[in-house]
Structures are given as structure tokens and as C-alpha cells.
């Protein structure tokens, strides 16, 4: 089947996938809210107003106010921007670094593959967010460093995934034909091998967005990511933690924001997996 027909068949299957529909709806709404945050926010998300501290949700403050009198709704809306950007940049870093490593490692094999995969093995020896924690520990806590840490920590996932796909694809006849026709390694890698990797890469990156957002929020919650007064969801949760008894809303709404965002990404990712993985297709 020509790839364009196959692509549009997959797209229409994806659009009919119930979970993916819900996921797309959530993400579209979130992106719109994030873009429109400056206009939708009733107040400045950073300006403090001690007189308005710890106001419960009501007419003046739809989602309440925090201990500094800042509007929780405005902060949650601006937080959507930060979380989406952090997720996209972190996954972008991971894909940009992991893909070439996997391509080269899988294609050339031999000693280069051995060395690169040992490095990947060592990175995988740090479970969960431990690798990101280790990287953050040497950098100054900031939003930019947070994205770098979360991104680098996810590199092994993509390197391994791409390497696996290349190992299968490079044995195909068309790759041999390209080589016989005098195509250079670089051309083979980019024109013939990379397209084979795109589908699994898209699935993993979509699911990886959710994971990246969770890790980044966790690091910020621990005080190792974004710094005050940035309206970052993880940071807001940790600030609201001390006021749980008096003001449950400070920590509750940002947490809901994180969960809904990650849920949307997981739904779309699951849908993509169902559509693109022929073994799961009924």
C-alpha cells in the first residue's frame, strides 16, 4: 500500500478511536486555554495581595486565592503554558539526542554500538526520576535546567527504541538495493531508515510527554525545578501543601491540571499505539 494511503487510513482510524477522541478534545482545550491564558486570567498570576490571602473559591476568586493573595485560577491557567512547554521541550531534547544515537548504533553496529549501548545501560541503571535528580543536583534549580534534566534522563528510551527499529529495517531488501545503487550511509540513514522509526517514535513521544510533565512537576514539587513566583503546577502544589487544612484549593486545582493534561496525552498515546501497532489491531 502506498505510504500516503496507509497514512490517511491510520489517521481516520485514529480519529474514530474513542479514547483518542477524548484525549484530543482534552489536549485541544488545554492548548487553547494555555494560549489564551493572558486574556482569560482574571488577575495577574504573580502579583501578591496580602489582603486577599486564602480566600475560598467564590465570586471574587473562582478557584480561590493562595497564601499571598494570588488568584489560583490565573495561576493554574498560566501553569498550563509552562507545563506544556516543559513537556514539549524535554521530549524534544530526548528525541533530538536519542534518535541519532539509536540510528548510528543500530546501523553501524560493532564497537560503536557496544560503547553507545553500554552508556545507555548505565543511564538506565538510575531508576525513574533518579537520573533527572542527579542531573538537577549539579545544575542550578531553574525551569530551563529542569527541561534539560528531564530531557536527558529520557534519552535512553528513544535511543533503544530507534536502535531496535533500525536493526530490523536495515536487513530489508530496499536498504540493500539503496546501498547497491551507491547511496551513502547518511542518505540511507535519513531517507530509508528514519521513516521506519517515525511511527513507534510518535507513539513513545506522545506517551513520553505525559511522563515528562509528571517528572518535571515532581522535581518542581521537591523544590528542584521552577522557582517562585513562577506559576508552575508542581511548585504550586508544594506551596499549597502547608495550607491543606485552611485552603485545600491551593494544592487541589494545580494537581487536577497535571492529571488532566497527562490523561489527555496518555489517551492519545494509547490510541496511536492501537492504530499503529498491527499486533493489537483487531
Amino acid at each position: 500500500m502506498p505510504s500516503s494511503t496507509r497514512g490517511s487510513a491510520s489517521t481516520s482510524r485514529l480519529l474514530r478511536h474513542r479514547g483518542a477522541q477524548v484525549g484530543f478534545a482534552i489536549l485541544t482545550l488545554l492548548v487553547l486555554l494555555a494560549i489564551a491564558a493572558p486574556w482569560l486570567s482574571p488577575r495577574d498570576p504573580i502579583r501578591t495581595s496580602p489582603r486577599d490571602a486564602l480566600k475560598p473559591p467564590g465570586a471574587a476568586f473562582r478557584l480561590g486565592s493562595d497564601q499571598y493573595g494570588r488568584d489560583v485560577l490565573s495561576r493554574v491557567l498560566h501553569g498550563a503554558r509552562i507545563s506544556l512547554v516543559v513537556g514539549l521541550v524535554a521530549v524534544g531534547i530526548a528525541v533530538a539526542l536519542g534518535t541519532p544515537v539509536g540510528l548510528v548504533s543500530g546501523y553501524y553496529g560493532g564497537r560503536l554500538d557496544l560503547v553507545l549501548m553500554r552508556v545507555v545501560d548505565v543511564m538506565l541503571a538510575f531508576p525513574g526520576i533518579l537520573l533527572a535528580l542527579a542531573i538537577v543536583s549539579v545544575l542550578r534549580p531553574s525551569l530551563a535546567n529542569l527541561m534539560i534534566a528531564v530531557g536527558i534522563a529520557a534519552v535512553p528510551t528513544y535511543a533503544r527504541l530507534v536502535r531496535g527499529s533500525v536493526l530490523t529495517a536495515k536487513e530489508q531488501l530496499y536498504v540493500e538495493a539503496a546501498r547497491a545503487l551507491g547511496c551513502r550511509d547518511r542518505g540511507i540513514l535519513v531517507r530509508y531508515l528514519l521513516p521506519n522509526v517515525v511511527a513507534p517514535l510518535v507513539v513513545t513521544a506522545t506517551l513520553g510527554l505525559g511522563t515528562a510533565i509528571l517528572s518535571a512537576a515532581a522535581l518542581s514539587f521537591l523544590g528542584l525545578g521552577s522557582q517562585p513566583p513562577e506559576p508552575e503546577w508542581g511548585r504550586m502544589l508544594s506551596e499549597g501543601r502547608d495550607y491543606l487544612r485552611e485552603a485545600w484549593w491551593i494544592a487541589t486545582f494545580p494537581g487536577l491540571g497535571i492529571m488532566v493534561t497527562v490523561l489527555g496525552m496518555n489517551l492519545v498515546g494509547d490510541g496511536l499505539q492501537d492504530v499503529l501497532d498491527p499486533r493489537l489491531r483487531e
Binding site: V119, F126, L130, A134, L222, S238, V262, L263
Partner: protein
Amino acid sequence: MLTYITTRILACVPVLVGVTLAVFSLLFLIPGDPVKMMLAEFATTPEQVARMRAQLHLDEPIPVQYGRFVGHALTGDLGTSIRSRRPVAQEIGENLGSTAVLATTSMAVALILGISLGLVASLVRNSWLDVLAMLVALLGVSMPSFWLGLLLILGFSLHLGWFPATGGGDLPHLVMPALTLGLIASAIIARLTRSSMLEVLGQDYVRTARAKGLAGWGVVVRHGLANALIPIITIFGLQFGNLMAGTVIVETVFSRPGIGRLLVGAILNKDFPLVQGTILFVATAYVLINLLVDLAYAVVDPRIRLH
């Protein structure tokens, strides 16, 4: 079998060497002077900086420093904390029990809940119960553990007063942290159990077992679950690693003593020997646990060791 065990153990060696190299290099990745960064909050004289540099052996050639680092680590000496001035190994030792109890209890919660949820969902495939179970699992995968922890504190400590919100030591203090970690991990196990069960229940031998006239539950448990559990055991090591990393967050949420909280405190305090020692310890433990899981797996499943 012996060949498999030897190969598997030997494969750990380069990884562990790499881990020591990575953890050792952390100090050199700090932008600027690591000693000045560690002492940033104190008013220090040049003599104090020099003394600290000598204490950390930073004046020696790097290969010598690395050799010393590994040599000491092998004898259980992970250096001395800058803040508490106590041996890092002792600090880890004091916190290890609490984290181990939390991790194992959470794992038990995750396995019991996850397998039951996945099993039920697979048996009533596409019914409302299946949809509900998988929805709960999907929410669990998407939920930040620190938020779930705070919600549990809000509900069960502040409102109902059933469990203490913070601290550690006894059973009541263990319930909510273990539930937080266990519930999140159970979501992944439930999804995996369901898909694995669906695959196994469609196999010929299950149909044969049913055709033989075996009772429904006998087939499900003996032929279905027993085989469906194999991929779950495989990810046990991985899940355990996630749980260990999860303790970092959950211990902070519940102000519970443990390795995770020790590490976060060390990073915030720029206590580098403690950061390095703790990370080295956790990564090594993770590699060794995975080794044990693989070996146990090979004992159970002959296909692995024969490959």
C-alpha cells in the same frame, strides 16, 4: 544454567563500573568551582575552602581521585556528609529500613490491587466493569503521586483523622504513603495483567482445558493467570526501581524519614558527598535487584536460560 548465571552476573560489572564513573563525574559537571558551590551559603575564608578541597581530595589527579572513590565505596566508605559531618554510609544505613519497608509494602499493595483489577477486567471484557476498571487504571497512570498523597492527607488525616499526616516509624504512619505509591503502581500492573490475560485466554491450550471440561475458575487461574503473570514478573524489577524512585517524592510529601528524603535534603543543601553516596547506593541496589529478578526468572522459566 551455571553459564547463564555467570554471564548475567558478569554483564552487571561494566554497568556498575559505569555507574561509579557517572556518579563520580557529577562533581566535575558542576559549573564553576564545586567547593565554592557547596560552601556558597557560608562565609568562608580561603583557608576553609582549601581545607574542604583537601578533605575531598580535589587536589589530586582525577584518575587517583576516581580510584580512591571506588576503592572506598567497595569497603563501604561513601565519604562524609558536609552538613552533619557523619559518614554517608551511616546516614544511609539509618534511613534504609524505613524506605525498604515502604517500598515492599507498596509493592504488595500494587500487586494485590493491580492483578485483581486486571484479572476482573479481562474476564468481563468490554463490559461496564471492564471500562470502569481500565478508567481507574488510566487515572492512576496519569495521577501525580504527590497530588494523590496530598489528597489522602486531606481526606484521611485532616477530615477523618484516621491516620497521621506526617512522620514515620509505626504502622499507622505507613498506611497512607504505602497506599499512595501502591495505588499508582497498581494502575500499570492492572493494565498489563488485563492485556496479558486477554492474550493467554485466547490461546489453544486454554480452549483445550475448557473443552476437557475443567471448571471455569480452574482454567482462569491455572492456565490463564499462571501464564499471564510471566510478563508481570519481568517488569517486577523495573517496577521496583520506579517504586524506589517514587519513595523520593512520597517521603517528602509525608515528611517520612528514608533514603529519598535524605537525597532531596542533600541536593537542596548542596551536600555533595551525601548526594553522590545516596545516588550510588540506590543505583547499585537497583542493578542488583534486577540481577536477582532475572536469576529468579531463569529458575522459574527454563526458556530463558536455554536461550
